[in-house]
């Protein structure tokens, strides 16, 4: 087990290094941020001073090592535009994105699992087919388009909910969250639902697939033969058996929801990390772009690692295979 652990951790570190090189080179090799940022009327001297201060006059490799060295000391650089530490910029946006992603996941789960169960339980019914068609809508229609329709309907036509932005925040568990008040909820509900749709589609399909498989298995037949009520069959056996893969995917999807919020945050003007990265891209604020991408990669490496380790714990075969 220790060997497996070390192997996986080493692998994760290797991947991090590889990805940092790719991200860094990718973002730094192309395009000159100075042309976008600088006032074109500035003097040549100022231009050069800036290039020097941002370290853009050094070779790419040198820039990379400076960057890596700083990163190992917990310093991801300074934003060109705001001249603030990137880490604090991103961190100040984190609570907004986190609450949006969590609310979206909650919506997806609360709707997705019952719908998926039903669709798997009565696969041939008319309602099950409708649910499945809905799930296809959920993950194929572009998020921004649904977001626009939601704003059109609920904010403009009906006037029930705000069209965008974030409600008043209060300090909850050390984070500045807006879901502490009802007014905050009125702001979050539309973007969260918008963000949830994709996951909702996915979750319905997963749950349905798991349910159909379990329903046709021997122990469900056995349980039914024993005279257990349908409610207990579904509640005890089916739910229990499909929960493990769903929880795993949920864990993985939380990460991607955090990252996917980019579009939703733009449509709803939600002041989260996704909005920050879009704004940074339009002004080519490289340090923010690089730091954001590296943090996302880091997040996924960690999640993958944890999933691997948990699986390794649960299923010894994976360990054997990995070692071979």
């Amino acid at each position: 087990m220790i060997g497996f652990l070390i192997q996986r951790v080493l692998q994760a570190v290797m991947v991090m290094i590889a990805m940092s090189v790719i991200v860094f080179l990718g973002v730094y090799a192309i395009g000159n941020p100075i042309d976008v940022m600088i006032d074109p009327a500035s003097s040549q001297a100022l231009r050069e001073a800036l290039i020097q201060r941002y370290g853009l006059d050094r070779s790419l490799i040198e820039q990379y090592f400076v960057f890596m060295n700083n990163m190992l000391h917990g310093d991801l650089g300074e934003s060109f535009i705001y001249r603030l530490p990137v880490i604090s910029l991103i961190w100040s946006r984190f609570p907004a994105t986190l609450e949006l992603a969590l609310t979206a996941m909650m919506i997806a789960t609360c709707l997705g699992i019952p719908l998926g169960l039903w669709a798997g339980y009565k696969p041939d019914s008319w309602s099950a087919k409708a649910i499945m068609a809905f799930s296809v809508l959920g993950f194929s229609v572009p998020t921004f388009w649904i977001g626009l329709l939601l704003i059109m309907t609920f904010a403009v036509e009906l006037g029930w909910l705000p069209s965008g932005g974030r409600g008043p925040v209060s300090n909850i568990l050390g984070l500045n969250l807006s879901i502490g008040s009802l007014e905050g909820w009125s702001y979050i509900i539309l973007p969260a639902f918008n963000l949830a749709l994709f996951k909702l589609g996915l979750l319905i399909r997963l749950t349905r697939a798991g349910t159909t498989e379990v329903m046709s298995s021997d122990y469900v037949r056995f349980a039914r033969a024993q005279g257990l009520s349908e409610g207990k069959v579904v509640g005890l056996h089916v739910l229990k058996n499909i929960s493990i893969p769903i929880v795993t995917v949920f864990g993985l999807e939380l990460g991607s929801t955090l990252a996917f919020a980019v579009v939703t945050e733009t449509v709803f003007n939600w002041p989260g990390m996704g909005k920050l990265i879009i704004d940074s891209i339009t002004v080519l604020d490289r340090p923010v772009m690089v730091a954001y991408l590296i943090l996302v990669v880091f997040l996924f490496v960690i999640i993958n690692l944890v999933v691997d380790l948990v699986y390794g714990q649960l299923d010894p075969r994976i360990r054997v295979k990995a070692a071979s």
Binding site: V136, P142, W145, L149, N304
Partner: protein, 297 residues
């Protein structure tokens, strides 16, 4: 259900027999065929060539659906801010979107399949390394990658396609690798590899064909995804110029009018986009269902 006929046509007939079990998928297929035909024959169907600046008249700008413009015909879906007939613009936009989707899908398929095959063929450390990177890339949102790439490469059709390919090839790589590596472990491949037969023959004769069915499914879905991604990029202001309208640029162009009562400039292209993307996905879904070897009958 159907008799095991082993000829190529027989297999196709079987496939169709299974496919048409689902009326929704059949309807979706009809939509796709209609959309593709309309896109191909756009110059014949559309009352106006939206690319031809001379055919446009500013005096026709923002006419609501059903009005007659200076061309003397009815603008069934209205006109946009440049006086462009929206029905025509949507047909040509479909064309652009489909071309982008298929080009991105095709290039991503070739690139992804190659990478996946290389990984499966070599095995060992190379395989582990390639697949780890692929896995990670998969976990990065495609929209984010495409966004960064378009911002850096610049705007234009080739850049857009390049960004879409880079964002999507990983799906093909993983699919190919999955199917091919399962096959790779079988004895006959091991045997073939130990003969002096050139490696590429093994790759293309045995590993690739096994990866094809799932690849087809992924390709269908990815074409739809590319179209949706392009639309999203356009919405964020990084798509194609308006004089080459794709569905995405039409929608984002009309977005500014959405809240002021001129809904048609954005809504109709949006509906066309939605129909296309959902239809492709529904068909892809049914194809996956039919091709799935484990499916219960």
């Amino acid at each position: 259900m159907s008799a095991p006929v082993e000829t190529r046509w027989g297999r196709l007939a079987n496939f169709w027999a299974d496919f048409r079990q689902n009326p929704v998928a059949v309807a979706a297929l009809i939509v796709i065929v209609a959309v593709v035909l309309m896109a191909i024959f756009a110059p014949l169907v559309a009352p106006q060539d939206p690319y031809n600046q001379k055919a446009l008249d500013l005096f026709d700008a923002r006419l609501p659906p059903g009005e007659v413009g200076s061309g003397g015909y009815v603008h069934w879906l209205g006109t946009d801010a440049a006086g462009r007939d929206l029905f025509s613009a949507i047909l040509y936009g479909l064309r652009t979107s489909l071309i982008i989707g298929m080009m991105a899908g095709a290039f991503a398929l070739v690139l992804g399949a190659t990478v996946g095959l290389i990984a499966a063929y070599h095995g060992g450390r190379i395989e582990a390394l390639i697949m780890r990177v692929i896995d990670l890339q998969l976990s990065l949102p495609a929209i984010l990658l495409a966004l960064v790439l378009v911002a850096l490469l610049g705007q234009g059709l080739p850049q857009l396609v390049a960004a879409l390919v880079a964002a999507q090839y990983a799906y093909f790589a993983r699919t190919t690798h999955g199917a091919a590596s399962a096959e790779r472990r079988k004895d006959y491949i091991e045997a073939a590899l130990s003969t002096p037969l050139p490696a590429r023959k093994v790759l293309f004769r045995h590993l690739l064909p096994n990866a094809l069915p799932p690849l087809i499914v992924v390709a269908t879905v990815q074409v739809a995804n590319s179209i949706a991604l392009e639309a999203t990029l356009s919405f964020l202001g990084l798509g194609l110029p308006l004089t080459q309208p794709s569905l995405g640029s039409l929608i984002s162009n009309g977005f500014q009018f959405l809240l002021s009562g001129r809904y048609w400039i954005s809504i109709y292209p949006g509906i066309a986009l939605m129909l296309t993307v959902v239809a492709i996905n529904l068909v892809g879904d049914q194809v996956r269902h039919v091709l799935n070897p484990r499916r219960s009958r």
